[in-house]
């Protein structure tokens, strides 16, 4: 059976061009870039070249503001703990209730270490309340860390506006954004549009580079203490021997991402086709985040009356790889913290499935999903105590009929 991979917010297929670019640095060019001999020059040189490619992808900023890390989680840890360390006189952090765990849990840890954290809520569509955000800004606020787009729903936050308001209120407040889900999907210009952002995290494996490499944009002069210590690499701001092949692959993926940014329109067409098909064929479903601006590739659909894991299992037996809630929270039985924050009805929350597409998906694949998904839902609903098969409606009391958007 052919695999249909629609879980690109979890990870992506490594682009063949990326593999090719990495190859020499896994074999002949294995030298430590810090070494003095002639042979080490090439790896040292390609890292700087890679830095420029990544900087290009972020709007052509000066490349010395890019630090290579092992993943976006490390970048997020560095940004948050590093800001706390470097700004001991302030102790208030603002974030949202729908962040990825690598921000959410780090902020909770910061709270355990004595910081005060405001977790901003979202509305039914996943949008932030601007007034609530503004009221949260305080004289002792040291950091605002808010994701650019949500990994589960694809809902995009107005980072450029939030950063500008933050800086106009008090330029000493640091602004960090986790842009892991947006780089490669939306244009990013840290020079102009997002100029008020001080720190930005993202990783390679969401844009067709391999896992194990990420970056942190650290605006020149930002008070952020290193997280990894014990080496002069990255000018002392991130110790550890550089992962040369992965950095090269990451940069290549960034270069491809810029080139393929227009393909996102095609990705959005596929997503919209999938969404329209489901809405048409399946009663009692909701599109999570429908009322907000969303990533072009993400579709999070809440199916009333049935459970997400069963849906995934059934999808997978048809070769389809999707996910239910964040991959990082799977394993626990808690429903997604993101959908909870959005107040998605309980019975629909458990039946939420995320399809996330990439430029490698095709219309045929979308149609193949549409061919099996309605039947999977019908089959599972037949088994559900929350579903009345005769009327093809949720049982009384299971949920109020959802609004149709």
């Amino acid at each position: 059976m052919k695999t249909i991979y629609v879980d690109n917010n979890a990870t992506t297929a490594v682009a063949p061009e990326v593999v090719e670019a990495m190859q020499p640095y896994l074999t002949a060019e294995y030298f430590n870039p810090s070494s003095m001999y002639e042979q080490a020059r090439t790896p040292a040189h390609v890292i700087e070249q890679a830095r420029q490619q990544v900087a290009q992808c972020l709007g052509g900023i000066d490349s010395d503001q890019i630090l290579f890390t092992s993943c976006a989680t490390e970048s997020n840890n560095t940004a948050i703990f590093g800001s706390i360390q470097a700004n001991p006189r302030r102790r208030h952090i603002i974030t949202t209730a729908v962040e990825h765990p690598s921000v959410l849990e780090v902020c909770k840890e910061a709270a355990r270490r004595g910081c005060e954290v405001t977790f901003l809520g979202v509305d039914r569509h996943g949008n932030l309340n601007l007034g609530e955000f503004i009221r949260a800004l305080r004289p002792e606020t040291l950091l605002v860390t808010i994701m650019h787009a949500n990994n589960e729903t694809g809902v995009i936050f107005p980072i450029e506006q939030l950063a500008r308001i933050t800086k106009e209120t008090d330029p000493s407040i640091l602004f960090h954004t986790d842009a892991t889900q947006t780089i490669g999907k939306l244009p990013m210009d840290l020079k102009k549009v997002f100029k008020d952002v001080d720190m930005l995290s993202f990783s390679g494996h969401k844009l067709h580079a391999p896992k194990g490499v990420g970056a942190l944009y650290l605006k020149r002069g930002t008070a952020c203490r290193p997280y990894m210590m014990g080496g002069h690499q990255e000018k002392g701001r991130r110790a550890g021997t550089e992962n040369v092949p992965y950095i090269v692959g990451f940069a290549k993926a960034c270069e491809l991402a810029i080139r393929h940014l227009n393909d996102e329109r095609h990705v959005q067409e596929l997503r919209d086709r999938l969404e329209a098909g489901m809405v048409e064929m399946i009663p009692y479903i909701e599109i999570n985040g429908k009322g907000a601006s969303r990533l072009p590739n993400t579709l999070n659909v809440a199916v009333h009356g049935i459970e997400g894991e069963a849906i995934l299992y059934e999808l997978n037996s048809n070769g389809i790889c999707a996910s239910s809630g964040s991959a990082c929270t799977s394993g626990s039985l808690d429903p997604s913290h993101v959908l909870k924050a959005m107040d998605v009805p309980f019975t629909a929350m458990h039946g939420s499935v995320r399809f996330s597409l990439s430029r490698y998906n095709t219309a045929e694949e979308v149609d193949a999903i549409l061919q099996v998904f309605p039947q999977i839902v019908r089959n599972l609903r037949r088994l559900s105590p929350f579903w009345d098969d005769k009327t093809n409606c949720p049982t009384a009391g299971a949920t109020a009929p959802p609004e149709r958007h």
Partner: protein
């Protein structure tokens, strides 16, 4: 990282190491000028000597004819020493004229040096100054009287903290104490250190660490009660002439009476989202929303009106 030396640097280095003709390795006995810079402790040291063609009556018209150096150091330190000698000999100049050679000239002659190696060129320039000073004493030339002030204040030897400006830790420490510097910005303003790539600000052993070491850290434990951040002290009212409540009322009244009618004339409206001290967050709605001039309208009109009618300190933030 493997250093990216220019071909010129590599060529000069190889020539000097192999003692090729025309290179300047060595020391002039009974030199007319002798200057030293650096020490074995800091990993770079240069002993620079020159001979002059002595002018019969006016020592200031002595011409440097020969230069030699002994250098302990890396590729670029040796190449920079070689460059210094060549530059001086080419000019057929007096020692005082030779002072015009700067470390930038040396870098240029070498066709560039890696940032982290700029201090090698500085070392050359410093040794030259020391040698000229030595010559002036031997020949009885009063440089000060001629208005020439040599940098007595060499960078102290030690670990280089700011690589962009070759500022060593002892040098930075001395200035922090002597000039009572309390922030990274103070340091940069006083001695430039930390002013270019800024990587040394918060790196381990960087400027913030040195400041913290000297002045103590304003609370490593984040649990300690925070001090009032400076940024808001300036925002806080100088005198408690009106309460926050009163200020809010005054702002509301001004919006109602003056600002809203003007906007409504154009089919728009204004909504106050929040007021913090003298920061007024507001949103333009209706016909004004999405208008390209909206931000400007807010800034110019709303802020001016509020400043004039309520308080000069008010700042408007468009949301």
């Amino acid at each position: 990282m493997a250093w990216e030396y220019s071909e010129k640097t590599m060529k000069l280095f190889m020539a000097a190491v192999h003692g090729e003709a025309g290179t300047h390795l060595g020391e002039i006995e009974n030199a007319d000028g002798l200057g030293e810079h650096g020490s074995i402790a800091c990993g770079d040291a240069l002993r620079f000597t020159f001979r002059v063609d002595k002018h019969g009556t006016d020592p200031t018209r002595d011409i440097i004819t020969e230069c030699r150096y002994l250098t302990f150091g890396c590729t670029s330190a040796i190449a920079a020493s070689e460059a210094l000698c060549i530059l001086i000999e080419q000019r057929h100049c007096t020692p005082i004229e030779a002072l015009q050679i700067t470390n930038e000239d040396i870098v240029e002659f070498l066709e560039g040096l890696p940032d982290q190696k700029i201090h090698c060129s500085v070392m050359g320039a410093e040794a030259l100054e020391a040698a000229v000073f030595n010559w002036s004493q031997k020949r009885g030339v009063d440089l000060k009287a001629m208005g020439i002030h040599l940098h007595e204040e060499d960078m102290e030897e030690g670990r280089i903290v700011c690589k962009c400006f070759s500022a060593s830790e002892p040098y930075i420490r001395r200035h922090i104490v002597e000039q009572d510097l309390h922030s990274i910005a103070d340091i940069t303003n006083a001695i430039k250190a930390g002013g270019a790539c800024m990587s040394c600000h918060h790196a381990p052993g960087g400027l913030q660490d040195i400041l913290d070491d000297i002045w103590g850290r304003g609370g490593v434990q984040v649990k300690e009660a925070p001090e009032t951040p400076e940024a808001l002290e300036s925002v806080a009212p100088a005198a408690k002439e009106v309460s926050a409540y009163q200020l809010g009322k005054m702002i509301d009244r001004c919006v109602e009476k003056q600002i809203r009618p003007i906007l409504q004339n154009d089919g728009g409206d204004i909504q106050i989202v929040d007021i913090k001290e003298h920061l007024v967050y507001c949103q333009l709605t209706g016909a004004c929303a999405g208008c390209a001039g909206a931000a400007t309208t807010l800034k110019l009109m709303v802020e001016r009106s509020l400043k004039d009618s309520v308080d000069e300190r008010i700042r408007v933030i468009a949301v």
